[in-house]
Symmetry: C2
Subunit: 514 residues, 2 copies
């Protein structure tokens, strides 16, 4: 049966093979009218992939109108992770978001949060689905989910990210679907949607034994009667621009690969390594790029996001299989992806983020976790989220899921920021996201500090020697020396009156240097 219902623009609706759902086609503005003030909305979207493209902006327009009429109108905005300006940006710009969770990277949203005008709850990505199922955030009033198509049975073909979509669709009272014909139809079959989750005491083991294992089905199930609107779109995902790989990133990558080589030689890692997890960003991209020539393999990846460099590793055969919850590609990466979709489809699995980030699976597989950071301290605590202790940057994302449960937990950053005015190695981090108990390795362009098995004072010596920028090394050593003499104890010697003094100095003078 072929859909014959007409879309808002009067053209045949694409990829909606279920007549009942095709009959619910409407404009984005009409769909947005179905969302009331105060609604908790579970939206699709992860790293700018697979988010709804039109209804959020229509909702923002509706909110602006209500606001002008003096009516209150805010919503709870829950997603997989970060989205794009037409979603986070549009809703934040009209002060339409009451509470945002679990992750964002949008400039307007960030500004509103740091101005104290928007509530933000920054969650481990593996915790989101269960926290909502458990009722910790209240009901999911509306699910607003982009899909790549609707089958004749009414099943939903996932889009370029999975995130928490299964949870939103399962729990929502009302479902609004955006069917995006820009998404390649060949995505169909790439996903693995696991319907075996449950609340305790009824949980069962998640039977993934290898990164590429499939334990679910390719489509979302959703009772058609819950769907209140279907909107046809043809809009691209947000693509990511990567900086060209620079010398700093290359040196970080080289230190990391030397270390992995050493671990293989010592027999602590197999030559096929263990499944790679790689955070998002330029440094991570550089590390993956350098892995190709390192002689390991064939590797696998069990990670959150497929970036350009991961595609390159799949193409070269260095990586055989990659599991993630989203694609996050540049324009060039996207072109390559589309050109070779048949091949990638066999070797990429896109899962719900509660599975891509599941502690059980990450620990079982023994991932090699590589994540960026804002700063680390001499004792091995890592700050991933806050600038100078008070301002949110993005959020913890999945870094905690992976750092705590991986075989090796590695954090990467240039040793300085702001042209040297900030040292990313400090006496005490201004916010802790990963504790001393969870950090094995810190890498900067200066070198790599392997902190395994070291008591805090020895970690400090190694971090200063290996990771700190020379401009800051003496000052760090001076802190350590004086702390050793004057701190009230010598397990983790700190001078509390000045432990955060570097940050205070930066706030006053825009430079951490004395």
């Amino acid at each position: 049966m072929t859909a014959t219902a007409a879309g808002a623009a009067g053209v045949p609706a694409p990829r909606i093979d279920h007549p009942g759902l095709a009959a619910k086609l409407m404009s984005a503005d009409d769909a947005a009218r179905l969302i009331p003030h105060g609604a908790h909305i579970g939206m699709s979207g992860f790293t700018g992939a697979g988010h709804p493209k039109e209804v959020p902006a229509a909702l923002a327009r509706r909110i602006a109108v209500a606001r002008e009429a003096g009516d209150p109108f805010t919503v709870g905005l829950w997603t997989g992770a970060s989205t794009a300006p037409e979603l986070d940006g549009a809703l934040a710009a009209v002060d339409g978001v009451d509470l945002r969770m679990p992750y964002q990277s949008d400039p307007i949203t960030r500004a509103k949060i740091n101005a104290g005008q928007m509530d933000y709850v920054d969650l481990h990505l593996s915790h989101v689905a269960q926290a909502v199922w458990e009722g910790f955030f209240g009901p999911v009033d509306v699910a607003l989910v982009e899909v790549a198509g609707i089958t004749a049975d009414g099943d939903l073909i996932p889009s370029s990210s999975v995130g928490n979509n299964k949870t939103w669709l399962d729990l929502a009272d009302r479902v609004i679907l955006e069917v995006n014909s820009w998404q390649p139809p060949e995505l169909d079959g790439m996903h693995d949607i696991y319907y075996g989750t449950a609340l305790p005491p009824n949980r069962r083991p998640v039977q993934i034994l290898q990164a590429g294992d499939r334990i679910g089905v390719p489509h979302y199930h959703c009772p058609p009667e819950k769907v209140v609107a279907v909107v046809a779109t043809h809009e691209p995902d947000r693509t990511t621009t990567f900086a060209p790989v620079d010398e700093t990133s290359t040196r970080i990558a080289e230190h990391l690969i030397d270390f992995l080589t050493h671990e293989v030689e010592r027999g602590r890692l197999p030559r096929t390594l263990l499944p790679i997890q790689s955070g998002v960003g330029n440094v991570a991209n550089a590390v993956l790029a350098n892995l190709d020539a390192a002689g390991f393999g064939p590797l696998t990846a069990y990670t959150e996001v497929i970036q350009d460099s991961m595609l390159a590793l799949l193409r070269s055969g260095t990586i055989s299989t990659a599991s993630a919850t989203a694609l996050s590609l540049s324009d060039a990466g996207l072109a390559d992806f589309l050109d070779n979709l048949g091949e990638y489809r066999r070797r990429i699995v896109l899962r719900s983020q509660e599975i891509s980030n599941h502690p059980e699976v990450i620990r079982r597989l023994g991932c090699l976790a590589m994540n960026g950071m804002i700063e680390a301290d001499i004792y091995g605590n890592v700050n991933s989220t806050h600038v100078m202790g008070s301002a949110i940057q993005n959020g913890i994302g999945g870094s905690g899921d992976f750092a705590r449960n991986s075989y090796l937990s590695m954090f990467l950053s240039p040793s300085t920021a702001k042209r040297g005015a900030i040292s990313t190695i400090v006496p005490m981090v201004s916010h802790v996201d990963h504790t001393e108990h969870d950090v094995h390795v810190i890498v900067t362009e200066q070198g790599l500090a392997d902190l395994r098995g070291l008591a805090p004072r020895r970690r400090a010596a190694r971090v200063i020697e290996r990771c700190a920028h020379p401009d800051y090394r003496d000052a760090l050593q001076d802190y350590v020396d004086r702390a050793a003499r004057h701190a009230p104890a010598r397990h983790t010697p700190h001078l509390l009156d000045e432990a955060l003094g570097w940050h205070g100095r930066y706030l006053r003078t825009s430079d951490m240097r004395a």
Copy 2:
């Protein structure tokens, strides 16, 4: 076949039914002579239960003699968790420990660590076995393990704690056994030793679906040829003295039980709750004591340690089954345990600590985690390990394994310490063990703060209102008010120049109050 070999004292060796091993009976001093300088020793022992009773002191004597002769002699001391004065205390007193891990609560050891004279690595208890298997700490040279008996087949009957014993026995080059005839023979059959662990990429799901499930065998396997010494002992475990339940602990317990009752009424918890995890100490003991009258049940426990109050709950039928890795009883608790061993044996499972604390199992079961703390801050970060930022108290133990993976993560403490001179609710904790992402609930005798779904500023308001002692409430509010005006951002507003000022004031004046 009955053992006929004579023990060191010339009396028949008890409970050593394997003749080859009975032939290796020797004195503790002779056994200690088999441990060389520099050895990494994996010892049994968890919360003062099941630790070796005689060889450590003999080793300490040997070390003292070597030291007097001018010879270096230190060992790496690895255990399950805390032990007793005759182990940790004796070895620390002679400066015999090079590196201690993963947990301690011994006064002499603590003093040496805080004097900078002993290295201490404070690990999540679930991480210990895998870190050693992975080679992160180097080889296990000697396993020194207390057992309750040796079967005719040479299998080892575990003692009153399991801890990391399976790992030490599997990995050690040389094994020294203490067979302690003080341990009740009825312990045999209570344990569940899981031999299905592996290193990645060969790990499989841990198939525990309910707290009481058994997936292993009752005994340790150990090739008899690895055993270099067997020492017969008859020495009690360290018993724990609990303070009488006081008003403060009772009020904490009441707040917590009111909260659980509320969660049941809201449908967010079943009336049988979910498996209880309870930390060690007086407050935890009080909470369990109060659970008996609360009308929940039948409950289960999936925890580290069985304390007196857990026995009482088992006896009353409020708890049907309890899983742990150790017993930690008072004299009275021990007498009760011995009097009713037949019944307890059916309802208690003692496991390896990598299983009792396994993230996979804790998350699957959805535990209710209740742990003590040193301090919490207004934004929900918790310090479990460091006094005034520099001095180690005990260690993180299993609190992180449970807090991160449980259904509810709750931290409990009186609101003040040192007769009011310390507020346990502070602007910023002086060390972070549990981040804002991992803490659902904070409870003091003043009240309970449910932090789920709250952005940081709202958490601060609730923690101050519900948990802070009235003597400190105004000062905390003043900090929050000024931070809201002067902090560089309002997501997590902090004044870094004074965030740790309360601790600094205490160090100078012995009082946090201005």
